[in-house]
Every structure is written in structure tokens, then in C-alpha cells.
């Protein structure tokens, strides 16, 4: 049964172009949170030799000379367009596995006719409905579909269905470290064993693979041989951990600033928890200084158990504030802080401790809080600890409008 991997081309850069067609043909880069590093590049930027993930200042000269447009990341827009792309893919098959913000696996069971043509229908429909260009790789297994999508993209075919008879030729051109699931450590071991390409890996003796790479490695090899071993997960697994953290736009030595930031992150994490119907059993608060700067360094982190597990904003912000007292060292300039929620469990399964009662008032209060914020915008109603001014807020100097999620930022068209 064939599998397709649909992969959005230069996703964030493509999102910027949907509402700003003048960017077509112009080099476009998108920067990470806080405008630090390059996280997306249009093809024009790739052609300039600018690498992914490097700090922006290193490439600024080249980009300026090429007339590149630079954007702060606009996750409201990217998240919305991603959802739309996935929704369109859902029209083709009920079996869609959203693999990342810009990739999805589709099970193409019962698709008669030419697979390449079907791939083109997918690509054209997504482009027409959402404005996002995608590459489509189709093959017998997920691991091969991943390679097919890479071929579709790098050879600018945009759609590539890997035929069984042409597989070996393709695999011979793929480095072993490019195979899905082969990390750098395994790649080194495999090269030492003489398997430096995907084809040689596919031909490696299964007993050796099992002995050296375990059952996970064996699955990869079987998949390269065309035997499906990886199922599509029809529902994305619930988040097992929630992390909300950011760098400050400028380092701060003010405890009040850090407290405000931590409380905000705790509140945001609580919203995510409630949205997926979970409670957290563990809350970790951390903060640290800038390791790339000279001066006194401090990395503080402390974990609290929540008894019983909770998703109540007031409980989580209180815990975060208590932990800050434990990890705070005065006289440092802090660069980053955050909250991690772990040991998540379903809301209904929370075990009551002897002296606690599940307070129905708390649940009603949280439902009211989420309802008001859904209506009026995130953070419209919040705990005072989250603060008002947000002087520590992340830097995003050149973010485009949130065209699809904010009434005040809709795209404007001349009549």
C-alpha cells in the first residue's frame, strides 16, 4: 500500500509570500524567536549559499546585498496555514499523519490509476486552496516516501513516485546519514561497516543490523527494502511534556521581570494543558545567564511535584513563583527562563490525595478564564503575577501581520 509524504517547500518563507505576492522571486528569510538565527530560507537564499540555522548577523551582509526581505517568525500565521494544508490533505485520504508543522504522511490505500498523477492533484489542490507549494514523495514505505520527497524537492520534480524497479538507483545516490531515523552516531558505525549509502544499508545483513542497531534499526532496513514496518499514527500523540520558554530581548537582573515572565509561561503552559485535557504532575522552573558572554554564570533549575496533578493556572503560577525563590541568585544578568510541565496525565484520571479535594470551583474558574481569553484574545484576562508591561518580551522587529488570526491585521486589498 503506497504512502505519500507531503512536505511544504520552504514553509515559513512560503507563508510570507501568500499575502505578499511581491515577494515572489525575492530572497526571503525568516528568523527564530528573538530574531537570532535563520530558520527558513526561500530558494533564492539557498542559492546564495546561506546556511540554515546560522546567526542572522553572519549572513546579514550577503542578504542585504541581494535585496533579501527578512521576517521575524509569525507563528500565528504559520500555524494557521499549516492547519489549512493538513485540512486539505484530509480530503484525499482519511489516513493522514501530521508529522510536523510542514509535513504529513498520507496512506494511499485503494488509489487506482497513476500515482504520479495523483501526487500532482494533491500538489495542485494544496497550492490552489492555501497558496502553499508542496513536494510529494510516494513510495511503498514511510522511510522510502521520505527519500522520494527529498528527490522530488532537490531535483525540482515536485512530485516523485518511486517505482520498485528504480529504487536501487535512487538509494545508491542517498548518503546513509540522510536516511530517516539514522542519527550521526549510527551513520558513523554504518560507514565503518562499509554501508555509506542507503542502498548499501538496505543490503546490510539483518542479523548484523539487529545486533548492532536493535529492532529500530532493523525496521529502517526493512523499510528501505520496501517492507512496510512503520504504521501511520492516525491521531497525533498527546504532548508528553509541555515547555514554554523564551530568551529575554535584553538580559535582566530584575527578579520582578523574571517572576513576571515565569508566571506568564506557567499560565500559557496551563492553557495548553487544559486544551489537551491533561494535568501535570511535575513542574520545572529554570533560568540561566548567557553562556556566550563573560561574567558570572548561573543555571538554576528546580522541580516541584504537584499533588494532586493540576492544570489550574493559579496552582501552576504559585509553584513557579515558589521555585523562583529557590533558584534565584542576585547579581546575575539572566538571558532565559522557562517552565516545563511533565508527568502529564488525563484530567479524568487524576488520583486524589488524602487531604485534597478536586475543587469544582477551580475547574469552573479555569473554564471561564479560557472562555474569556478565547473571546478577547490571549492574555486579556490574566493573573496579576503575569504583569502588564512585558518589558522582557521577546524581540520580533519585522514580523508580518497575523493575516488570518487577527481582525485588525487582515490583508488589505485595493479595489
Amino acid at each position: 500500500m503506497p504512502v505519500a509524504l507531503v512536505d511544504c517547500n520552504n514553509f515559513y518563507a512560503s507563508c510570507e509570500r501568500v499575502f505578499n505576492p511581491a515577494l515572489e522571486g525575492v530572497p526571503v528569510v525568516v528568523l527564530s524567536n528573538n530574531d537570532g538565527c535563520i530558520v527558513a530560507r526561500s530558494n533564492e537564499v539557498k542559492a546564495l549559499g546561506v546556511k540554515m540555522g546560522i546567526p542572522y548577523f553572519q549572513a546579514k551582509g550577503v542578504l542585504d546585498r541581494a535585496g533579501a526581505k527578512v521576517f521575524s517568525s509569525n507563528y500565528a500565521l504559520y500555524g494557521d496555514l499549516s492547519r489549512r494544508v493538513m485540512q486539505v490533505l484530509g480530503r484525499f485520504t482519511p489516513e493522514v499523519e501530521v508529522y510536523s508543522i510542514d509535513e504529513a504522511f498520507l496512506e494511499l490505500a485503494g488509489i487506482g490509476g497513476d500515482l504520479t498523477e495523483y501526487g500532482w492533484t494533491i500538489r495542485q489542490t494544496v497550492k490552489r486552496w492555501t497558496g502553499i507549494p508542496v513536494s510529494v514523495g510516494i513510495a511503498a514505505t514511510k522511510t522510502l516516501a521520505k527519500i522520494a520527497a527529498e528527490v522530488a524537492k532537490t531535483r525540482k520534480l515536485w512530485v516523485y513516485a518511486m517505482p520498485a524497479y528504480g529504487r536501487e538507483e535512487i538509494l545508491a545516490g542517498i548518503h546513509v546519514e540522510e536516511v530517516w531515523g539514522i542519527g550521526p552516531a549510527w551513520a558513523e558505525r554504518l560507514k565503518a561497516h562499509g554501508a555509506d549509502t542507503a542502498l548499501k544499508l538496505a543490503r546490510t545483513d539483518l542479523a548484523w543490523v539487529r545486533a548492532n542497531m536493535g529492532v529500530v534499526g532493523e525496521r529502517t532496513v526493512r523499510e528501505l527494502r520496501g517492507e512496510p514496518c512503520l504504521e501511520l499514527e492516525d491521531a497525533p500523540p498527546k504532548r508528553k511534556e509541555i515547555c514554554t520558554s523564551r530568551s529575554f530581548s535584553a538580559p535582566t537582573d530584575s527578579k520582578a521581570d523574571v517572576l513576571e515572565a515565569l508566571a506568564t509561561y506557567a499560565a500559557r503552559a496551563a492553557v495548553k494543558l487544559r486544551a489537551q485535557g491533561s494535568c501535570a504532575g511535575v513542574l520545572i522552573a529554570f533560568l540561566h545567564t548567557d553562556q556566550f558572554k563573560t561574567g558570572p554564570q548561573h543555571y538554576g533549575s528546580r522541580t516541584a511535584r504537584l499533588e494532586p496533578p493540576s492544570n489550574d493556572t493559579s496552582v501552576l503560577t504559585r509553584q513557579a513563583a515558589r521555585l523562583l525563590d529557590a533558584i534565584w541568585r542576585p547579581g546575575h544578568r539572566y538571558r532565559k527562563c522557562g517552565v516545563i510541565l511533565s508527568d502529564l496525565c488525563a484530567q479524568g484520571s487524576v488520583q486524589q490525595t488524602l487531604f485534597s479535594t478536586d475543587d469544582p470551583r477551580s475547574r469552573r474558574l479555569m473554564a471561564a478564564l479560557d472562555g474569556i481569553n478565547a473571546e478577547w484574545g490571549p492574555g486579556a484576562l490574566r493573573y496579576a503575577a503575569e504583569g502588564f508591561a512585558k518589558g522582557w518580551h521577546m524581540k520580533s522587529e519585522t514580523r508580518s501581520s497575523r493575516y488570518t488570526t487577527h481582525w485588525a491585521e487582515l490583508p488589505c486589498v485595493r479595489t
Binding site: 478565547a374 488589505c412 479595489t415
Partner: protein
């Protein structure tokens, strides 16, 4: 997303009668559910976008300055459709017409002239305007 999130939906109850406690109105038996304007205006949520019109060249088509346009990208444009067009890198709203095979864009205001698409200019239909929301 615009309207798509449930949270942003504005709904109107179909039937709600004020009655003394203990005497439910027989009409309430026929209350189905709230009318959802979003459901009525948005046929293809994944492909529908909201835009704001600016300018006066389309008043004849009922599009005024500041109006909200509901744009569906999944609908194939026909001759006579009101479209969002990309003309030399800019988004504009006009009526699409054809003279033979040659497309052109017409404003709906006698003070503005039709725009012929030159061979050299880049032209593409971004989406089809399906509704206009105008504040009275």
C-alpha cells in the same frame, strides 16, 4: 483562521422564549441549534480567507471602502467573477472578464477604466470573492 476557531464564532439562538419557570414553551421543542453565520458564509474553511477592501473602484459591485471580503481560493474563477487578482505583485479586487481568450479586469465605477493584462505583466487570480460584509 479568522472565523474558523469556534471561540470566535458569533451565534444567534434560533428560538428562545421567555417563560415563567415550570412552563416550557412548546416552541422550544422545535429549537434545533444556533444559526452559525460562519457556516453560511464559508463553504470551504481551509480555502477561505478574509480581507479588507480599500478604495472606491468597486462600489457598483457593492464593495465599499473598509468592507470585509470573504474570499474562497478553491472556486475556479469564471468570466464575470469578482476576484482578488495579483497584478504586478499587488493584490487588487476587480471583476474578471474575457475578450476572446484575453482576460481583463474591470472596476465597477464609471470613473475608473478597465485594466487590460499586458503580455509582459504578471497576472494571477488569488481567489474568488464570495461575500461582502458591509456595515450599514
Amino acid at each position: 483562521m479568522v472565523f474558523a476557531a469556534k471561540s470566535q464564532r458569533r451565534t444567534c439562538p434560533l428560538a428562545l422564549s421567555r417563560v415563567p419557570a415550570g412552563f416550557p414553551s412548546p416552541a422550544d421543542d422545535y429549537k434545533d441549534r444556533d444559526l452559525d453565520l460562519h457556516e453560511h458564509l464559508v463553504q470551504h474553511p481551509a480555502a477561505t480567507f478574509f480581507m479588507r477592501a480599500s478604495g472606491n473602484s468597486m462600489t457598483g459591485a457593492g464593495i465599499h471602502d473598509g468592507d470585509l471580503l470573504i474570499v474562497d481560493r478553491s472556486i475556479p474563477p469564471r468570466s464575470g467573477s469578482v476576484v482578488i487578482a495579483i497584478l504586478d505583485g499587488e493584490l487588487t479586487v476587480k471583476r474578471l472578464k474575457h475578450c476572446g481568450d484575453r482576460p481583463y479586469l474591470t472596476p465597477e465605477n464609471p470613473e475608473h477604466a478597465p485594466i487590460w493584462i499586458d503580455e509582459g505583466s504578471t497576472f494571477e487570480v488569488w481567489g474568488v470573492v464570495v461575500y461582502v460584509v458591509h456595515k450599514v
